[in-house]
């Protein structure tokens, strides 16, 4: 029996088919089988799947993951999404999750790819109080300030980025990679990301830090 996407309207915990216990928060998406859908509908925990957004894009074959992690637990994380192993961003898919590290909130994947229909890139913030003037070396901060003008800006958590394939993002990723090649390993890539972003403006949607951390903030 096929799995269907549903959206939580209450927070609840359940065991996945792999036996792992997970908490699903209000607004999260997850896949359930018909029997469980009926039970959770009756309990008022999920929306009627016939009325909610169906993530056609997610199943279209245009979405994929580019990761340098080897190996990753595909069964747990991929939802059958194709995965390309690469140290660098490759334009393999129309909609790409570049996943370098950190726990993945899989329930948010369909929404993330859907948002890429209108935005060039989605990246979570590191934290609302984590500013560019609080990270990196003195030299790195100075170099960043010279480019972006002021360091009192939030930084992005570049470990998980959702990218739409287009000329603007290709130019951006190329410029960021070149910038990182020029730097030594001690340079904070969150600052080089800001420098590159400033001079290559994108339709950038900042996501809350909880997109990665799993903390329901």
């Amino acid at each position: 029996m096929a799995l269907k996407w549903v959206r939580c309207i209450q927070t609840f915990s359940r065991h996945s088919e792999l036996g792992r216990r997970a908490t699903h928060y209000k607004g999260d998406w997850l896949q359930l089988r018909n029997m469980e859908i009926k039970q959770r509908l009756a309990a008022g925990q999920i929306e009627d799947p016939t009325t909610v957004f169906q993530p056609e894009l997610f199943n279209s074959g245009e979405c994929g993951i580019v990761t340098s992690n080897k190996p990753i637990d595909v069964s747990e994380y991929s939802y059958n999404l194709p995965i390309t192993y690469s140290e660098h961003y490759v334009q393999e898919y129309q909609y790409t999750l570049v996943w370098n590290s950190g726990p993945l909130r899989t329930a948010l994947l369909p929404i993330s790819f859907e948002l890429l229909k209108s935005w060039d890139m989605l990246v979570p913030l590191e934290g609302f109080s984590v500013l560019a003037n609080t990270i990196g070396s003195v030299e790195d901060r100075k170099r960043t300030e010279d480019v972006i003008g002021d360091l009192r800006v939030p930084v992005y958590n570049v470990e998980q980025m959702f990218i739409r394939r287009c000329s603007d993002t290709a130019q951006f990723m190329d410029a960021w990679e070149k910038e990182q090649e020029q730097e030594n390993s001690k340079v904070d890539k969150r600052l080089s990301f800001l420098r590159t972003l400033f001079v290559n403006p994108l339709l950038m949607l900042a996501l809350p830090p909880s997109w990665i951390s799993g903390s329901h903030v």
């Binding site: 209108s118 609302f128 003008g149 009192r152 939030p154 400033f198 996501l207 329901h216």
Partner: protein, 210 residues
């Protein structure tokens, strides 16, 4: 008026008109010399201020805010709520960000996570949750923002007006709904730029004191 860059205030009612004098004074104190436009019902006497007369009776003059792209005489505008006090000449750096090609420059609200849209009326809050794909949006604070009149920004303001007109109340949820249909290049700032006791803009959020 054909100035490229300038600052815009909106002031309706005695309290707002009193506040705007203090807000403008704070700008001058830090050395800002850009032209200032004041959108209000009737001109008041403040030196070197350009008046934009406009009738409004909406909640908190929010209708005027979502018309700023039309009412501001500047190509690049810094909009400031009247209960803001500028603390640093660094406020001008926002225009450099626009020059770099960004459409809109603003800071997130201090209210995030479970507190997003806490001030929004229940009916609008529910409708916003139903409408948004992204159920975990970052709430933006539109009391301090720089924008320039690009096609994307004009489209965003158009959507913002459409969304605001549905409930005619606060502007923040309407802005997030508008961004879903009309995305723009937004450079995010930290809270120093727009918060209570912010080092660049001290925003009193309706509790301004002399």
């Amino acid at each position: 008026m054909s100035e490229t860059k300038g600052i815009c205030y909106i002031a309706y009612g005695e309290s707002a008109l009193r506040e705007v004098r203090l807000a403008i004074h704070s700008l001058h104190q830090v050395g800002v010399e850009l032209p200032i436009a004041l959108i209000c019902a009737e001109p008041i006497h403040i030196q070197k201020i350009f008046y934009v007369p406009f009738e409004d009776h909406s909640f908190g003059a929010r209708r005027v805010k979502v018309l700023l792209d039309d009412l501001s005489p500047f190509e690049q505008t810094l909009y400031l709520d009247v209960d803001t006090r500028v603390k640093s000449i660094d406020i001008l750096k926002g225009f450099d960000i626009l020059d770099a090609g960004w459409d809109l420059v603003m800071a997130p609200s201090v209210n995030q996570g479970a507190n997003v849209f806490a001030h929004i009326l229940p009916e609008e809050k529910q409708a916003t949750s139903d409408f948004l794909y992204n159920k975990l949006p970052i709430q933006l604070q539109a009391g301090v923002m720089w924008f320039q009149k690009t096609p994307r920004t004009l489209s965003l303001f158009d959507s913002w007006r459409t969304e605001w007109n549905k409930y005619k109340h606060h502007d923040q949820a309407a802005l997030i709904r508008a961004l879903q249909t009309s995305p723009a290049r937004i450079w995010l700032l930290g809270l120093d730029w727009n918060s209570r006791r912010g080092s660049i803009v001290d925003h009193h959020f309706g509790q301004a004191v002399n």
